[in-house]
Amino acid sequence: MNCSQYRELLSPYLDGALGSTQRRNLENHLALCNSCREELEALRQTVKLLQAWSEEELDLPDGFEERLRERLRQACQPWYRHLPKGWLSLAAAAAIMVGVAVSAYAGYIYSPLPFQARQVSLPPGGEVGEQLRLEAPATPEPVTSFSGIVTDQAGKAPAPVITFFPENASPAQAPADKTAKTTESQPVVNGRERMTAAQTNKVNFRGQKLDPALNETQQLKEETGKLEEGAAAIKAPEAGLTAPSAGPPDNTPPVPQTGKYKSAPAGTGRLPEKEAEPGASDREQTVPEKVYGKLKLPEGDWQQATETGITAP
């Protein structure tokens, strides 16, 4: 090490912050180097000068104590008292605006405008399997129960009438869907585009791809004809009316039936009403019998209908 490097150690040497090895080496060098020894002495005097300088105290400037008391008095007050006047009113107004904005964004504020939900309804005099019409009500109706569908069509033009063609619908689901659609829960149709796609691309109204090899129209006609045959069989003597053995269990919950089917005339494609059977007890009646108005098909026809896709509910 040269003198310059040893002089870097003079300051910690004065403070006693050197390790034993460094201190011993520095002391050996100081014993040989007069210049570094004088440098050490000058540095020691400088440190003494600084320490003596630190004992001197300057006079306080004018107004120091008054200002200090004022700041101490402010420190005793709560933090919100330090804020400028009017800050609280501004903060309250801002909080209200934020609350209203958040509520409006979240949809919690009630809109006075009525909204229209597109509903599915069957024409009163229409035939089963003929047309399924989706139309909006002519006049807005007040919403009395939540149907699971919330639309924002308030104040807009009525939704266009969308016509379903039975050939696009699945024949196996046709009776069950009709029953379900006339109950309290109204289905949603997502617009004309889906129907256009259904008509052109051979998809059903749920957007599912249909098997092109299957002629749905023909199948639906066949099922409709079988239903008509069943309705005619109901009017026949009771000897030929037996419940199919493959019927559903008795504990199946009944599907609610609306009044639209009760007065449907036989032979028009609608399910006929139940013929009075004074001798038959209620325990022989199965759930689908209640649903379809005691519709009973001949056993052979029922099996055929099951094979073609008509399933018990």
Partner: protein, 188 residues
């Protein structure tokens, strides 16, 4: 609050003086000293007596001045590196050259004002270290903890700051040796 005012009355000048050494002007020093006393008043319940009340106030004023120096660090200062680059290696003393001690020179040049201006030429990092060590008497570890640096950094900064002060005092000695006005008066 009145009792606290009486308690701190004896420390007000000390705090103002230290803040003046740190910050260099009476306005900032007054504000820093008041801020330190307000902080002490707010945190009086946290004082556990682990050190003297004076030492506790010294720590508070050092922290206040450190924060103030960081805010004021944009002000142009003279760095030690630039000074050493301009002036070259530290001047070596020759044997028998001792004419006057740095203390004599400092007294000859109105003492504290000159030393105060010398310290203000240091960058805040070096100024903090030399004031906390030589004026406030903190240990190397306490300085390192307060400044968030290592003890080796504190050693290095302190050594360079002391050499800077000593070097400029030596230049002043030569200046006064040539003019031999004030030193002669002092000796006379």
């Amino acid at each position: 609050m009145e009792a606290f005012t009486i308690l701190i009355e004896r420390y007000q000048k000390m705090l103002f003086t230290i803040a003046y050494r740190f910050l260099g002007n009476p306005e900032d020093a007054s504000d820093a000293a008041q801020e330190a006393l307000v902080r002490a008043f707010k945190n009086l319940a946290g004082f556990r007596g682990q050190c003297s009340f004076k030492t506790w106030l010294q720590h508070i004023i050092a922290n206040v001045c450190r924060d103030a120096l960081r805010r004021l660090s944009r002000q142009p200062t003279l760095s030690l590196e630039s000074l050493q680059e301009v002036e070259g290696a530290p001047r070596e003393l020759t044997a028998g050259e001792g004419v006057a001690s740095p203390e004599e020179i400092c007294l000859a040049r109105e003492g504290e004002n000159y030393l105060h201006s010398l310290i203000q030429t240091l960058t805040p990092e070096y100024r903090m270290v030399v004031i906390m060590r030589d004026l406030q008497g903190f240990s190397y570890e306490e300085i390192a903890l307060s400044l968030g640096c290592s003890v080796g950094t504190v050693k290095s900064r302190l050594s360079r700051a002391r050499q800077f002060l000593r070097q400029h005092l030596l230049q002043e000695r030569e200046h006064f040796t040539i003019s031999s006005v004030y030193i002669s008066k002092q000796r006379g």
